[in-house]
Amino acid sequence: MSGGWQAVIGLECHVQLMTRSKMFSGASTAYGAEPNTQACGVDVALPGTLPVPNGEAVRMAVRFGLAVGARVREVSVFARKNYFYPDLPKGYQISQYEEPIVEGGTVRVRGEDGRAFDVPLVRAHLEEDAGKSVHDAFHGSTGIDLNRAGTPLLEVVTEPALHSAADAAAYMKALHQLVVWLGICDGNLQEGSFRCDANVSVRRGADAPLGTRAEIKNVNSFRFVEKAIEYEIERQIRELEAGRAIVQETRLYDETRHQTRSMRGKESAHDYRYFPDPDLPPLVLPDGLLDAERAALPELPEARRARYESALGLSAYDAEQLTLARGIADCFEAVLAHLPGQAKLAANWVLGELAAALNAAGLAHGEGPVSPAALAGLLRRIVDGTLSGKLAKDVFAAMWAGEGDADAVIAARGLGQISDDGALIAAIDAVLAANPKQSEQFRAGDEKVFTWLVGQVMKATRGKANPARLNELLRARLSP
């Protein structure tokens, strides 16, 4: 970095947990409903209402903690973060402060260049989301929709251990991959299911004391995180080199101008007056939850990726692509379970034809009309020579269109090669019986007539005879 500057970056990612109901109420978390139709008395902070924690959100937080090798607290504490804002109905957010459910742990990241590194976490804690403000729809007013208020979030906080915008973006991707893999977040960036705040500061060299940091709020795309941090690092270096000081503040990323700007309207000097929420007893993990989650923890993407390379002999590229999402990897393994020993073929199809069809239909692996078992059934017909690669694609298209499994399509469309010896011999014998003269000519040494006979069998089988096998069998039939 220019002038010996080092950037120091810490990320706080808000992972929306995919529960059916909210963190502290029985209202639905479904996205996209009419405003305030999913905000119940607890969510709008009606007088007298009380929060009751969602056990499933707790389980998801535990699963995350185990997956990142963190310390999972048997007893954690909900605290109130007090501030006034119209999208925060109670005037405080229920979060965790001094005793979060998850402490420590690391997330393994692969950089763009393939380099692997570990990002240490400070903590991950449970909290509730705020509502949404709509600024443009009402003359002189802001509209408040509390449907999102109370949605469970896991806030994952890294150490200030990242030093480039690219690494920060790579971490964000790795965390996103992990939480989707664990089945605790739907990962939908557009709907705000995964959002990041970045704390950025710069200092002169790795040994200098940390500089004053700025917080970039609410970035919800990998590319924008990278751009925003890049911009912010350059801005801070520019300020410091011009002899100006960095102000500790909250900044917003402007996606059209690719700049960060200071956020007005938010109180500058926060005093959140955190204290333990007296409406909630300490969160004690239910008996057996930790053990059950530990036992149910899925093989993580990095481990699978390594196994695909070493045990299945797949290329690094294939292994990476297959482990981008758990749905892809699970689909691949389901295909492979029906088709032992054909990892490369299965990988090609899962990442190729199947992925393309799913993509075009806006579906994910594990969805769509062609199940892993059905796909394996198709691939088996390539392995046994019934189908050429090209024909197999046609059969796949028919299967996708709902015409049945591979064998049904082959039969119905008459697409399969006849490789079955019995059928081929019957066809050959019929041709030879009908053309005794040509048989005699061949036996007399006329090689040219062999090609003519092959043509007759092909004609009789409407071109479906497996040519290699036909050659072998015909020659055997003609030999004395």
Binding site: A27, E34, G55, H135, G143, G265
Partner: protein
């Protein structure tokens, strides 16, 4: 004993309470005396004493993840002094 006016103003701003001058003087004086009364807490040695946030150790009452609430927006929005098109309204907020 009275809390200084700047301190009262800071608290009033944190608590979003508009105070008129009479309130401000009176509440400042009262708070000063209340704080002096609270200072009795400084007399006792509490080293090593675990803070008590709630009276009894209660088991965590966790809720099953089920949607139990239905749309009550009509009744809830009707409680508000200002709503429109299903939204609660507040004076324009600038971010």
């Amino acid at each position: 004993m009275s809390l200084d006016p700047a301190a009262i103003d800071h608290l009033a701003r944190l608590a979003r309470l508009a105070l008129d001058p009479a309130d401000r003087a009176r509440l400042g004086a009262d708070l000063g005396r209340t704080v002096a009364m609270m200072d009795a807490l400084q007399q006792i040695d509490v080293d090593g004493v675990e803070p008590l946030a709630q009276p009894h150790p209660l088991p965590a009452g966790l809720r099953p993840d089920a949607v139990t609430e239905t749309d009550a927006s009509e009744a809830l929005l009707a409680l508000s002094g200002a709503s429109h098109g299903g939204y609660y309204l507040v004076p324009r907020v600038i971010e």
